[in-house]
Symmetry: D2
């Protein structure tokens, strides 16, 4: 009765792999039954053992896994695979599993580059399988509330989006000194961008999710502050959205003492809103001429859309894992429908392959702008 | 390999039952395999079906469950039972399962009255089984950090504890009008106290957990603000701790717009600390003559004790479910040791039957003080 | 055209004297022209010189000052005197100046004891002069906004008041060691109470100002934490208000790292409000079933009552001195009317001698309760 | 003994004129004795009367005032003039009074355009008079504390400055509809920029004050959101500082519900700091690997530099007027020295004509960049 999940990557010590597993488990609707947890078959085996999996379903590589799982009878084989490897290794397993007839959940950014993203979109369409991208910050209930406010016109016409995402963990030059392998700053693994690729894309996605606005052109100023680092560790953008709205998006991986402070402000003609991921249970709304309002997750007065993604009453805070789990909840609804040959629900709310293509186009455009000396660059259409 | 959990109570629509299940599932170490989810056997059956349990292990009542599970071979039968029923129904199943040789996790307050609590303590001792009480707020990493600070003397001698717990949900007289069954305000189900019994006991437990201080005497002022309500919905206490510290503890269930704002301030001769459950990832420390410090969950600089109960890096907030899960994590460590015939780890960190007895003694003393017109009353020893 | 002010006390280095002067000066309606700034005539002379006063109007003692000023022609002599001496020296000069026909502004607590307060009330009535007490925290615009909300019934019936006033400056035993003269802890100068007399009375006044509720009885637990100190440095109260509301009021002078955090929460049947002196430009209102609201000083939507006490537009913060000045603004309006033989405006908004009597009765009742072992004590009527 | 101040502009109803007067009065060291308060002589007369000035020293225009005051004997004539008119009218009276031998305090932005600024600098040098510019946000004690931290190297090398200044008051198109005269958006009065000229220049000045960094080049994106408005009401900049630091500076006058939220974050290799004008008594410092620290105005542990600009003890908040007064305090120190023929103190801390020239160059460069389509533009040297 539970959906059966397989995992690619996420072996011992992998932060994001464990997040995916906690998120998948939380609601008791998904169980992890198989995996190829590491490029190192021995490490994969150990990781599977730690998770208590049947050793026969812990595979040395994703190709074997796809082939073997496909041979298992329906009801026993996995219903979907979660891909939680570094960027370079998203597309190959995604392609393999889609072609083998499996649904896919994939970490972001979606692919190594835009070309792969476009190819993946074609593959997903052709496969008619479910593909979900874990832009997890859109899983927060108060982010959904924010989107509802914009949709209902409560902010009026949107004039400006200010999205920030400062982190500080790469202030330490461990990647340059070689003390530690940091794949994020390695262009062969991560792609053409570190800061914008890893976190800027979250900020872009969050703004688009809440407002629906598409970027027309942007001006991206990249800096590599740590000498010897191979990719940018700081990126600041000015943005022109289609329809005339303006944007400021700034990100850093070398902002001393910042943790994971993705936050967003959206300004409209009638009101503005503000949301901070590190205090995610609140949404602040400011009006030109009436008191500010604080909307709180779990309250009766929030919209049904936000309520649907809420597990606990007001005052019992929810956080990162629960938001992440909301992506899985929605992917699972789609996968169940697909499995039962039913049409997909029309209120599905998770990031799709199309979001992934837009995210990769955003990264590619920002890189192009930055390389040209932070000049205004039209958003690449893909 | 996973621990097998049974559940008493927590049927469809039960908030706290679902919280226990999410907490138990989160880390992939516990699976729910059996339950008697409701006094109504039909509802129990449906709840079990919703959870995807084997129908043979969904029981019509807890007595049958204890008897049947005990007959199953080791490795198949449950390793422990979680009791998530209203207060009146904590002791009977706890007794039954302990006597049947099962470990027990039990919701708070531990029993219907102090007499039962004392008896339960004897039963636990005699049984040599693990008994954990879900005073979940002590599961938060920054609460553990606070306790470590006190232990290491960083606050100096403790002078004063201010603990608050305002809620607002009982401002609505649904229980009196009969629109809704609210067992918390029903003395036959809840015991002699509503506000102090449900939430005051959390605040007391939190103060004792962080500081180790025991109450010597207290003065409790109870009020029932909603006419016709059978138990107090507001309770304020002055406290004298053994050793000379002072306490202020105030609680309410009729505080308009308050959600679940349990918070605590501890004042010592060298520093003071402050923690708010609704923003649980921070611990604020104030000093007489140096800048205030904010300690953040997940940071490298927090103690190993807090780190041990942390799943995510700094800036990726954790919240209520994760804290709740930390009680399960520790109970599970004890249960595993017990199952393997090993001595219990000496760093176990979960609320015990002794905490439950103290909690019930606190409630009984507060009720006695309140009934005597809010007079100073020595803490009942039990 | 400016009102002429004299000052008793407030010589060199006196914090509160300088506050009074800044507050008086701020709006350009009051000028300081005379003073007896210290019990030490030489120090008084120097203080007057620093302030640039005419040496003939810097007096060796308050008696001389009253006598000499009274001889000056109207238009030249002072319009009122401000008394900013320690508690013991409030009543004698107040009496002297009232009897000499002068209006009086006086620091709080009003007198050395309740008897003096009652006598002072009689003197004020008899004199028909203006008497204003500088319970300055009621001068904040958002405190006035809070009172308006209560008056207009926006909170419904008031159920509970929680007032806090922790400070930390007396954690240092400088008074006991003799390193420093601290008149606050000296009963011969300060009266029967330190903590409640100095700051508890502010908290009581603030609650009464906002809600209009009067205390029926209270239970006061006093502690002297610093060995050898002669008065309490910590005081916690439970309160029963007339009409059934409940109160918790706690104060401390030994709360490590606390600065001057007077704050208040008022809970009603419809809504609750919260205000913090250290962030005085905001008023937070919480509702049972709609978003929280933040009211901001200076905004168009605040009441005219709050606007009347506002100097700067929204977002340009005002603070302690401006609130203090609002007491002077109102006292000045009364004094001008009195000087011109006009009836006093009926919307005057400053603390009166009656507030002072109630404050002294509150202190006396708290002291009596504390001495009797923190027993419930009826509010002394005076 | 008090310094004698004259005022140009600031007649009835003028917000900023009244702010200057309150700031000047606060410490009792300055008195207003003369003025030409309006271009309308009748309005000037009335304003002077309201201020209680000698009618002979209320002038119909600034030229007359300069001529007449210069004829008064030293000790009677004004010591300095404060210019609080719209931008266009800063330079003419500044020139007149400097040439007549008077010291000048002037509101910002300093002049109508950069050419005037350069000329004014020459005039100031030639005159050997004191010239102070009221970039008031640098008067806040915790801004001075921030600068001290940077100076002492506590942040390491500065990598990035993020300065924000959103306001919302021009969301209302009153200037376009003609309901209200808004000189800020009138290029004939305000100069070539509204948003950057009025508030962007504060943000630039604040960043330069704290860090000492100079702009090398910038990219400024201006938008006029309200149709028909003649100047930009929104401006966002990317900045390259000399030495390699990066900047993001964004401002708006049409940000719904924003008040006056100038705030700054400075990121260094060792730590970062954050300050918000609307809560000015705190300075937050974040470190890569130790707890965050909150520095509080008035505390013993802050630097002597911040203490020098502090009037009240910790916990007794200071705000906008006090910060503004700090500019006057320092200008007054300089003016006194000048009057007494003494060398200027070498720790003077107020914005000078040089700051004004830099501010005007910043505005001119931003306008040039914006007009060229938000292209990177070298800072104009002047």
């Amino acid at each position: 009765m539970k959906l059966k999940m397989g995992m690619i990557g996420g072996g011992q010590g992998a932060f994001i792999g464990n997040v995916h597993r906690m998120a998948a488990r939380l609601d008791g609707k998904i169980e992890i039954v198989a995996g190829a947890f590491s490029a190192n078959p021995e490490k994969s085996k150990q990781s599977g053992a730690e998770l208590g999996l049947d050793p026969r379903r812990v595979y040395p590589d994703y190709q074997t896994m796809a082939a073997q799982e496909a041979k298992l009878p329906k009801g026993e084989r996995i219903d979907f695979v979660s891909i939680v490897t570094p960027n370079r290794m998203h597309y190959p397993p995604a392609k393999t599993f889609l072609e083998a007839g499996f649904n896919v959940v994939c970490d972001k950014p979606m692919t190594f580059n835009l070309e792969e993203a476009v190819q993946l979109r074609d593959l997903v369409k052709k496969s008619e399988k479910v593909f979900a991208l874990t832009h997890n910050y859109t899983g927060y209930p108060m982010v959904k509330e924010a989107r509802e406010m914009v949709r209902k016109g409560e902010l009026g016409k949107i004039l400006k989006i200010v999205a920030e995402y400062p982190q500080g963990w790469l202030l330490d030059p461990v990647d340059v000194t070689g003390q530690k392998v940091v794949w994020r700053t390695n262009p062969e693994v991560s792609g053409a961008s570190s800061c914008i690729g890893d976190i800027g894309t979250h900020a872009e996605n969050l703004g688009r999710y809440i407002t629906g606005l598409e970027i027309e052109e942007l001006c991206a100023d990249f800096t590599t502050f740590v000498p010897g680092r191979r990719l940018e560790d700081d990126g600041n953008l000015l943005i022109h959205y289609k329809g005339g709205a303006r944007g400021v998006l700034y990100t850093s991986q070398v902002a001393a003492g910042e943790e994971n402070d993705i936050n967003i402000r959206v300004y409209g003609t009638k009101a503005s809103l503000e949301w901070h991921q590190e205090e995610p249970n609140e949404l602040l709304v400011k009006y030109p001429d009436s008191p500010r309002k604080i909307f709180r997750r779990g309250a009766n007065y929030v919209t049904d859309v936000a309520k649907r993604f809420t597990r606990l009453p007001v005052g019992h805070p929810e956080a990162f894992i629960e938001a992440f789990a909301n992506i899985y909840v929605e992917a699972a609804r789609a996968i169940e429908a697909e499995a039962n040959g039913k049409p997909l629900p029309n209120d599905l709310d998770f990031p799709t392959v199309e979001d992934g293509v837009k995210g990769m186009a955003f990264i590619a455009t920002a890189v192009q702008s930055a390389k040209a000396g932070a000049t205004w660059t039209k958003m690449i259409t893909a």
